[in-house]
């Protein structure tokens, strides 16, 4: 069997425009899923991370269980849970996009939560005491003193988690969501050129994730030098 990479060129528009960006006949797209999942997952993660640090047991115990549960099960399992449960609960069919987005936000929030917790704990205790001493309320010191410093410390770990989530979006193709991976599968069903097509999308994913990790490294160096 000889390799023939023209199959990639012939289907480039479908792979990139439909599969990667999500414009075209299908509701799909890797980016259209990844960006909201990252934003919403991080927002939910902030609440979960802060809840784990709360003194009241009725707040930090459920948050801890949430984190430990989702970190102990595969994402594929969570996707199947949402896929079966939500239609049962709401008694209406949910499009693949909704299922995938819900699963990613719920799952990744557990990981984002741990990053937020570690970030807040990395702020020296004296900062909190100083904030209290100048008369800030606990909420104000969290918002104005702790979180701004914590987020700066979190950036490398956050970018790492964004890369993980970005790669994980490929799993949405399992339930039929037309992302880059599913687009390659669709093209492959017609062309039977698996080596060329899967290698090509591997490179597309790589370009995105590698540039994110370069950014993280450069940022780390920048804050290390003050």
């Amino acid at each position: 069997m000889t390799l023939d990479f023209t199959v990639v060129l012939n289907n480039l528009a479908f792979l990139i425009v439909q599969g990667f960006f999500g414009f075209g006949g299908f509701v799909g797209g890797t980016l259209r899923l990844a960006i909201p999942a990252i934003v919403l997952g991080f927002v939910l993660g902030i609440f979960i991370g802060l809840a784990r640090l709360a003194r009241a047991p009725w707040i930090h115990v459920p948050a801890t269980i949430y984190v430990e549960f989702f970190r102990g099960v595969p994402l594929v399992m969570v996707i199947f849970w949402i896929w079966f449960i939500i239609p049962q609960l709401l008694r209406l069919p949910i499009p693949e996009y909704g299922v995938a987005l819900t699963a990613f936000v719920i799952f990744e929030a557990a990981y984002f939560g741990e990053i937020v917790r570690a970030g807040v704990q990395s702020v020296p205790r004296g900062q909190v005491e100083a904030a209290t001493a100048v008369g800030l309320t606990p909420a104000q010191s969290m918002r104005l003193v702790i979180l701004p410093q914590a987020i700066r410390n979190m950036v490398p770990a956050l970018v790492t988690q964004m890369i993980v989530l970005f790669k994980d979006t490929s799993l949405a193709s399992i339930i039929g969501y037309v992302d880059l991976t599913k687009a390659a599968q669709i093209v492959n069903n017609r062309e039977i050129r698996p080596f060329e097509l899967y290698l090509f999308i591997a490179v597309v994913y790589w370009v995105c994730t590698y540039s994110m990790s370069r950014f993280a490294r450069r940022y780390e160096q920048k804050i290390a030098h003050g």
Partner: protein, 240 residues
């Protein structure tokens, strides 16, 4: 919600048997992939720190390319893409001996080898450089210095992140269901298909994963205490 629970589907009929088979396949797949990942991880992790540019560059290429692409894409690549390019006898052997299992094992092992490599590299870099210099000064070759001094210390430092990564491998073995390896998630879906009892089937599968992860984490925290180097705290982080 008008869902009728019927938990007995899990032990009547073939469900119990399927779950057990799925668990065994998940463990086999993960164990073999883990061995491959550890060998690749230690080799490439060590090579990334040696003072020889071509070796370092090759190891860097492997790590940066393989860990930054989704595992699912690798599954399809190794399962659909690579076998047609192999010599005929190899293809025949693979088709007769569960191609999907070997492709899944390879995808999982090569992907996690690249991630494990970062853990090991971080462990090596946490060791003061003077250790390496002292080993070479006493007359050890670079290879001996790594084998006898650097790696034994690094491996003891990285127990916590390596455990984390091994658990990720175990959980990620579920992705092999996409190339129809009959592992635990696959069998869970099979029970759901045959009994139409999604919640029961998913609960069983989820609990098995949770128990596996908690058990391994508990054992490894004992191992960690046993191998901890007094006075040295591992300052390594898990990579992407």
């Amino acid at each position: 919600m008008n869902y009728q629970f019927k938990w007995s589907v899990l032990w009547s009929g073939q469900s119990g048997h399927w779950l057990l088979q799925g668990l065994v396949t998940t463990l086999e797949l993960s164990a073999l992939a883990w061995l491959l990942a550890v060998v690749l991880g230690i080799t490439s992790g060590a090579l990334r720190t040696v003072p020889l540019l071509p070796l370092r560059a090759a190891a860097t290429f492997y790590v940066e390319f393989f860990r930054n692409v989704p595992l699912l894409v690798w599954m399809f690549f190794w399962y659909f893409g690579v076998p047609p390019l192999l010599p005929r006898p190899v293809q025949d052997w693979l088709f007769g001996h569960g191609l999907e299992f070997w492709a899944g094992m390879f995808a999982l092992g090569v992907y996690h080898g690249a991630r494990m490599s970062e853990v090991i590299r971080a462990g090596i870099q946490a060791i003061p450089r003077t250790q390496f210099e002292a080993s070479v000064a006493t007359g050890l070759t670079v290879f001996q210095a790594y084998r006898l001094v650097i790696l034994p210390i690094a491996l003891r430092l990285i127990v916590p992140p390596a455990t984390n990564e091994s658990l990720n491998l175990l959980k990620n073995s579920s992705v092999a269901l996409t190339i129809s390896v009959a592992e635990l998630t696959f069998q869970t879906r099979q029970i759901e298909t045959y009994t139409a009892k999604a919640i029961e089937a998913l609960t069983a599968g989820t609990l098995i994963y949770l128990v596996l992860c908690v058990t391994i984490a508990t054992i490894m925290s004992r191992v960690e205490r046993h191998f901890a180097i007094p006075g040295m705290i591992a300052r390594t982080s898990t990579p992407a």
